[in-house]
Amino acid sequence: MMKEVKSQPSNLGAPRKQGGLNAEIQSRIGHQLRAMYDDVVRQGVPDRFAELIRKLDQPGAQGGGETDKNNGRE
């Protein structure tokens, strides 16, 4: 029958024990992790953050807060 393969040990389907993780599984995990991550990286910089940094760069804004009326201290 098809199931009787025991007499001929094959390592094709069996996960190998090599003191750590199966190398193929490791690489799949790495690949999926980077795919998930890079998908977001590729979205670039959303406008709200470009805007935020630009605004914060204005004099007087760095002190952090609502005192934008007070235009720097020079």
Binding site: A14, P15, R16, K17, G20, L21, N22, I25, Q26, R28, I29, G30, Q32, L33, R34, A35, M36, Y37, D38, D39, V40, V41, R42, Q43, G44, V45, P46, R48, F49, A50, L52, I53, L56, D57, Q62, G64
Partner: protein, 181 residues
């Protein structure tokens, strides 16, 4: 150091990877962007404490990571919501099976202890060295290494039923049917 144009550009250039880190940590796109915003505000407010010439991305990641952790203590994540929200942040909708595989991966990642998840992301996705990752997480290099290793084995156990090497075929089937232990 003062906020020079160069520094401002460099901070902006780190935003895409900060977002990716934040989303990977929190599993929630909206919350991730709030985290990034808070990180940028803190960074700018504390720009004087940034050492010129040192690793700017690592400095920014440290801020984000600490914000996330202090925030995490306050509120628990809503895992079901997280998955849906994350999918929405994807620009291109993956195909059905790829999407399923992605959801499984995301769910498995969410099951890792936070220490292990962040270590794995920093080293395996952000591309930081073990040394930088250790500095970001405020722990020893050896600790990061062992967290990354544990994260990998746990993910493979969750996703691929690794560890099946000690099982006979019947046990393997049972383990698959029995799902996550």
């Amino acid at each position: 150091m003062p906020l020079t144009n160069q520094l401002r550009d460099d901070i902006l250039a780190s935003v895409p990877s900060l977002r990716a880190f934040a989303i990977s940590l929190s599993g929630n796109g909206d919350r991730a962007d709030d985290l990034v915003q808070e990180t940028l505000l803190r960074a700018i407010a504390n720009i004087d404490s940034f050492q010129p010439g040192s690793n700017l991305p690592a400095w920014l990641f440290t801020i984000l990571r600490n914000l996330f952790r202090s925030d995490y203590r306050k509120r628990r994540r809503e895992v079901e919501d997280a998955e849906g929200n994350y999918a929405k942040t994807l620009k291109t909708q993956p195909s059905q099976s790829a999407h399923l595989e992605f959801e499984e991966f995301r769910a498995a990642l969410d099951k890792l202890p936070q220490d292990q998840r962040e270590a794995l992301i920093l080293v395996g996705a952000s591309g930081f060295s073990y040394e930088d990752a250790a500095a970001i997480c405020g722990c020893a290099v050896g600790t990061i290494k062992s967290r990354v290793n544990r994260a990998r084995s746990k993910l493979s156990a969750l996703l691929y039923v690794d560890g099946a090497e000690d099982f006979g075929p019947d046990d393997t089937v049972r383990a698959v049917i029995g799902g996550n232990g």
